[in-house]
Amino acid sequence: MPEPKLYFEDFEPGTVIVYGPRLVTREEIIAFAAEFDPQPMHLDEAAASATLLGGLGASGWHTCALIMRMICDGFVLESASMGSPGVDEVRWLKPLRPGTQVRLRATILDKRASNSRPDRGFVNYLFEMIDESDAVLTTITTPLMVLRRVPGTAA
């Protein structure tokens, strides 16, 4: 594994970076749904138009997975990432339709060193998937766990 470029110390609260764009195709929406969320609104235009979604839209879990991929390509793979303990909140605000060029706006809300483990810290992020007209489709609020370059002392 190459030496990571980004450690806990390198994440600055207040930083906003936009990643992408990425085109989301009809084929990938249907493929994800067939494997992980086989409901009519994610699989078939005609069936989807009769649902509350009002037409084919990506599974909300697909939007989460796409955000994960976009942050991997954006910065996670070159960071000393240790994964994440969870997600505070995910909001599926608007459907992700086929053919949308999505971007990902990543805002560092705050960060803190771990109380129990001096080798790591938590970086709290707001991720917003936005479309071509800057409408927010999905938001994720989550802490990422990242190694410290210089371990501190446990609190």
């Binding site: 509350l52 879990w61 989460c64 994960m68 991997c72 994964g83 303990p85 997600v87 909140e89």
Partner: protein, 160 residues
């Protein structure tokens, strides 16, 4: 599919089990979460996880897969009985998702959903909001994932 009026707080649905094979884990991770501990056994062995483990989004997505299968079975059974079907969804999102323990290659996760709140929607009078605690436990009985999910469920139309 049940209507809102047929759903009670405390209802538990066992959604079934899923075993995460190394190929499944790597296939999901290569597409959506190619961190070294999700795509490569040797790298994973050197990581803090100690062995290949599933992306948390994979663990969560399999809950959705089994929940969708369950909804389809319920819909087919209701259709066979000649009953009206309620519309479910879309979900508004979820909160308090916790990846409590890694899901390692070979682990079998038992998924379930428990209704913790049910109320009429202010924004959609024809629907109710059903809040569920979604969970997954491994073969040792350890909880590996939990989250709180909120979904619209159609109310039974009033018979005049």
């Amino acid at each position: 599919m049940k209507f809102f009026e047929d759903i009670r707080v405390g209802d538990v649905t066992e959604l079934g089990r899923y075993t995460f094979s190394p190929d499944d884990i790597k296939s999901f991770a290569r597409r959506f979460d190619p961190q070294r501990f999700h795509v490569d056994e040797d790298e994973a062995a050197r990581s803090h996880f100690g062995a290949l483990c599933a992306s948390g989004w994979h663990t969560a997505s399999m809950w959705m897969r089994l929940a969708a299968d369950q909804r389809r079975l319920e819909a087919e059974a209701a259709r066979a009985r000649g009953e009206a079907l309620a519309q479910w969804g879309p979900a508004l999102g979820f909160r308090e998702l916790k990846w409590l323990k890694p899901v390692y290659a070979g682990d079998t996760i038992a998924y379930r959903a428990e209704v913790i709140e049910a109320r009429v929607s202010n924004s959609r009078p024809t629907s109710g909001l059903v809040v569920s605690l979604a969970t997954g436990d491994n073969q040792k009985g350890e909880r590996v994932i939990s989250f709180v999910s909120t979904v619209f469920v159609q109310r039974r139309p009033e018979i005049p």
